[in-house]
């Protein structure tokens, strides 16, 4: 781990003088010491190292995720998450939320299969992806056909669908956002917002 850290351009950056004096104040020295004490190098050596950013607040700290297996080729299991020392904003540090990210990714209440709750039922039951998606598409098609406002009173085409609404997620990627935008606005859904409204 020590060798790994030394190799990174982080230390080069520190050597440039700008940030050198801040390292201690950011608690980095201590983090390195702790890593040295606690992490067994032979274990990490077998893991795949991936760059990501923290999904919580919008500081967007850099993180390094260590997985057993390479997800691009095979099943991969997240083993460890740490701050990315190369990242200009957080320089390897993480807050109490970011430091516990692994347990968010692997939390017991992660959902693993589509479920349906029937009207009046007190339980959810599994449903296949195909059935769930077909059911949703059917409900959308029928409701849109019935309720789309095609023209206003003045005869202007308005193509406004207000009996369906969509809340998008401000933790999804810009690429998901674009796919979502196209599908939702494309169908004419007017009630379309994300957490920025909160």
């Amino acid at each position: 781990m020590n060798i790994d850290l030394s190799r990174r351009s982080f230390l080069k950056l520190a050597g440039a003088g700008v940030a050198a004096t801040t390292l201690g104040s950011m608690g980095f020295g201590e983090a390195e010491a702790q890593e040295l004490a606690l992490i067994r190098p032979f274990k990490l050596a077998t893991l795949t190292e991936i760059r990501n950013t923290c999904p919580y607040c919008s500081v967007a700290c850099g993180i390094i995720m260590y997985s057993k297996g390479d997800v691009r080729k095979e099943q991969a299991e997240l083993i460890h998450v740490e701050g990315d020392v190369d990242h200009p904003t957080n320089r390897g540090t993480l807050c109490p939320k970011g430091a516990a990210l692994k347990d968010f990714v692997r939390s017991e209440t992660r959902l693993s299969q589509p479920m349906i709750r029937r009207p009046g039922a007190d339980k959810m039951e599994p449903i296949s992806w195909d059935d769930a998606l077909d059911r949703i598409a059917r409900a959308m098609k029928d409701d849109r056909d019935e309720n789309l406002v095609q023209f206003n009173e003045a005869g202007v085409p308005v193509n406004r669908w207000t009996t369906a609404g969509f809340l998008a997620a401000s933790a999804t990627t810009n690429e998901t956002a674009w796919a979502t935008f196209k599908a939702v606005k494309g169908m004419g859904i007017a009630g379309f917002d994300n957490q920025a409204r909160v």
């Binding site: 760059r51 349906i116 009046g120 409900a139 095609q150 997620a169 599908a183």
Partner: protein, 810 residues
């Protein structure tokens, strides 16, 4: 943010007001620590609670929730009275010199043109006098009594330190101490940065809170400077991105706006968007609107968008109301007018106000679809959890389909941070069970609906059948394909407009950035402000060069920043009229006699002479606006308004409740309480150890902060016989919650209008799913009214009562 997180180290003074960065943005806040440690910067915190940001501040002052405008107008008044004004900046870079129409005025807390029936203003007089030459009239001496500067002086005159103290509870001596500190940054080479978040937005006049500080920053000359700016810290990892991408009921991508039904065709839509400069020689960059709009419509409808059919303009939904925002949707839902509702990574049952009303509304849906990596209260709104969710399950006829999605660790793509950096990330692990990518889920829903329209026909199938869905696997678009579409490409060869023999970009190639977009159908671009993120150089969002040649925290080659990789917005304003930096030691850009050069991408045409072209290139004035004309519904200047639920009357106008133009649904009026019945001021906030309603699913965070609590002062606890760690009930007309009481010196009673005001702090991280102990959110208590301009609910100021109580029955 106008600036970036790493730029904060350049600040001389940091003011955190309307946010709590040390707890809500801990690793970004370290740049404040850095500025303090190595630049000698000072930190001011103004907040109802002595929070952890306050704990490391140089100076702290308390304030009553919802009174920030009075405080900020008082601060502006003090700067003017004490000549703490950056005059050259104000004269040239703001609209201080512009002459305003005669009819405009203010009295009794209201601007001219108020119609109490419509709860709206006639804003026609809130504008400039336009001269015979077609340009706005100005008086560069700032002496004309109708110029913006004189009107502003008049407007803020009432906000004396004593007047401010009476409303806000900030003692006048503390207010004056802070004024002295802030006033120092009127020097051209001193900067203050403003860091704010939902403490300013979640009010019925949130937009005006922010304007108040923006005006102060302009008067001090702190916008465009390294270490300056208006820095919205923002709440979620990609809330900036989803706003930029226009996933809002009133927006299209890149802050293009949704058509309204009054805009009967594309020509009419464009007729109010010509953005003719209001002063000679100004840039008024929005004059390029049609290039961005046509390129957007080409991205939406591909070959089906042609000049002959107005580029598919009629396929876009057109609004009949300003907004189908979430509050309106839940109002419609509660009235039985909404049948289907989708929640993608969104837990509205805990996030929006008046939970009782939300439950009632969700119970009237035919189908609720949730797309989330986690269990949410929204997906389980029908499930009885005793006092924590006391619903009659059998009577709720809503069908719920819960779709499991991946989380950040399992997908590739970019997120835009609050500093406008688009940072690409890579997946690290396999999703659990059958969880799927959000892109796959959206594509599956869309293509299945499209298939039904192909087979069966139906109501206006064209926008669905013609929607461009040009991906190698239509059912599973890749992030790379989507990002390239967002950047945009040439559909046919694009030629230089000045020299048509010159090729700008070949057909089929990615455009370099939005300067290559055209309005003749030859280019497409999903979101113009993101154009440049993935051009022929490749994925610029994945760049990882962390060198910082200037030492100013610019990191020009780290990922990519919108627009055009510019790191500090309005950076032209960091230089004087000759183009010389106000502070040469923190040079962002400068004029070298021929062009703008320096450490950042200039926020102005590179060859625009500094004497000729103003720095605020998006505005037709070329200046910023101290007076916002008719662009905001509730006034061209911020004026003090009380929250809808307040312990005191509006001192200007006892009849006025809340924001006089905020939308109030009839059904919610009866739910508003008064201070006779509910004497205490509730406010909501986050804790360091938790993130919204996510981390209660995480065992580590749930151990760190296991249980819902409310925070009250020692004085209130004594008055109500409440012990530290004892159970309390907090309630108002909308709901009731039970919590452990944290009795603390961090909150102290304030004296407003001669009477003590007690604040009850309600953190927002608990619910009835996850591994933490069950609890409530503040939204059981909050008011179902939003900001008059953008409908963000007033969750930071509401009235409650409190009493000692017993543990709830789960």
């Amino acid at each position: 943010m106008t600036n970036s997180w790493t730029d904060i180290k350049n600040a001389d003074l940091v003011i955190v007001m309307g946010g709590n960065a040390a707890e809500a943005h801990p690793c970004g806040f370290k740049w404040v620590t850095e500025a303090k440690a190595h630049r000698g910067a000072k930190l001011i915190v103004v907040d109802p609670r002595y929070n952890r940001t306050a704990a490391v501040s140089d100076y702290y002052a308390p304030i009553r929730p919802g009174t920030d405008i009075a405080w900020l107008m008082g601060m502006i008044r003090w700067m003017i009275e004490n000549d703490k004004v950056h005059w050259e900046y104000v004269r040239n870079f703001t609209n201080a010199a512009f002459i305003v129409k005669d009819g405009f005025g203010w009295s009794d807390g209201l601007f001219s043109g108020y119609d109490p029936e419509k709860r709206d203003y006639d804003r026609s007089t809130w504008d400039y006098v336009i001269g015979a030459d077609g340009y706005a009239e100005v008086d560069m001496t700032l002496e004309n009594p109708r110029c913006v500067w004189q009107l502003l002086k008049q407007h803020v005159d009432v906000y004396t330190p004593e007047f401010v103290e009476n409303i806000t509870g900030t003692p006048a001596d503390k207010f004056l101490h802070i004024a002295e500190m802030i006033g120092e940054t009127a020097a051209p080479d001193k900067t203050m940065t403003s860091m704010y978040a939902l403490g300013w937005t979640q009010h019925s006049k949130g937009s005006q809170n922010i304007r108040g500080m923006a005006m102060l920053q302009l008067i001090l000359g702190n916008i465009g400077m390294a270490g300056g700016g208006m820095n919205a810290l923002r709440g979620h990892s990609n809330i900036q991105g989803l706003t930029d991408m226009g996933l809002m009921s009133n927006l299209l991508t890149g802050y293009l706006s949704m058509p309204t039904e009054a805009e009967v065709d594309y020509a009419t839509y464009m007729s109010t968007r010509n953005f003719k400069p209001l002063r000679p020689g100004q840039t008024s960059y929005w004059q390029n609107y049609s290039k961005f709009m046509v390129s957007f419509m080409k991205a939406m409808y591909g070959d089906a968008a042609q000049a002959e059919n107005d580029w598919g303009y009629h396929w876009l939904p057109k609004l009949d109301v300003p907004n189908y925002d979430v509050l309106r949707m839940f109002e419609l839902m509660n009235d039985g007018h909404v049948n289907l509702y989708f929640c993608q990574g969104f837990n509205p049952l805990m996030a929006f106000p008046n939970r009782g009303k939300l439950t009632s509304a969700l119970s009237k849906l035919k189908l609720l679809v949730t797309i989330d990596p986690l269990e949410t209260e929204t997906a389980r709104f029908w499930e009885n959890h005793g006092e924590y969710n006391d619903v009659d399950t059998a009577s709720i006829q809503t069908e719920v389909i819960q779709l499991p999605s991946t989380c950040f660790a399992e997908d590739d793509g970019s997120l835009t941070n609050s500093g406008r950096w688009l940072q690409w990330h890579w997946k690290a692990c396999t999703p659990p069970g059958e969880a799927k990518l959000d892109t796959w889920i959206m594509a599956q829903i869309f293509t299945r609906v499209r298939e039904l329209y192909r087979k069966e026909g139906g109501s206006v199938p064209e926008p669905i059948l013609n929607l461009s869905w040009d991906y190698a696997d239509e059912g599973d678009p890749t992030p790379d394909e989507l990002a390239r579409e967002v950047n945009g490409r040439a559909l046919s060869t694009v030629y230089d407009t000045a020299d048509t023999s010159k090729v700008v970009v070949e057909a089929g190639k990615q455009v370099l950035n939005f300067t290559q977009l055209r309005d003749d159908g030859s280019t497409m671009c999903g979101c113009w402000i993101y154009s440049g993120c993935w051009n022929e150089d490749g994925n610029n969002m994945a760049r990882r060069d962390n060198e910082d040649p200037s030492g100013l925290g610019v990191y020009p080659n780290w990922t990519w920043s919108w627009p055009v990789n510019r790191r500090t917005l309005y950076n032209r304003a960091s230089c004087d009229m000759e183009g010389k930096p106000w502070d040469p030691t923190r040079m962002v850009i400068e004029w070298n006699g021929e062009k703008w050069v320096g450490n950042d991408v200039p926020d102005i045409s590179p060859t625009a002479r500094p004497q000729d072209v103003g720095p605020f290139i998006m505005n037709p004035e070329g200046t910023s606006r101290l007076f916002s004309r008719g662009m905001m519904r509730d006034g061209p200047f911020p004026t003090h308004m009380e929250p809808f639920e307040s312990p005191m009357q509006n001192v200007f106008n006892a009849e006025m409740r809340g924001n006089p133009v905020a939308r109030v649904f009839e059904a919610d009026v009866a739910d508003l309480g008064t201070s006779d019945e509910f004497p205490y001021v509730g406010t909501s906030y986050r804790l360091t150890e938790h993130f919204h309603y996510w981390t209660k699913h995480n065992r580590v965070n749930s151990v760190l902060q296991p249980q819902f609590f409310v925070e009250i002062s020692v004085e209130l606890a004594e008055e109500k016989g409440i012990s530290n760690g004892g159970w309390v009930r907090v309630w108002n007309k909308r709901g009731s919650v039970k919590a452990k009481a944290v009795v603390t010196k961090r909150i102290k009673p304030l004296i407003c209008d001669g009477k003590p005001v007690h604040v009850v702090g309600v953190p927002l991280h608990w619910g009835f799913t996850g591994v933490a102990k069950k609890g409530y959110g503040p939204n059981s208590l909050t008011v179902f009214i939003g900001d008059a301009n953008i409908e963000t609910p007033e969750s930071k100021a509401f009235l409650v009562n409190i009493e000692a109580s017993e543990e709830p029955v789960a």
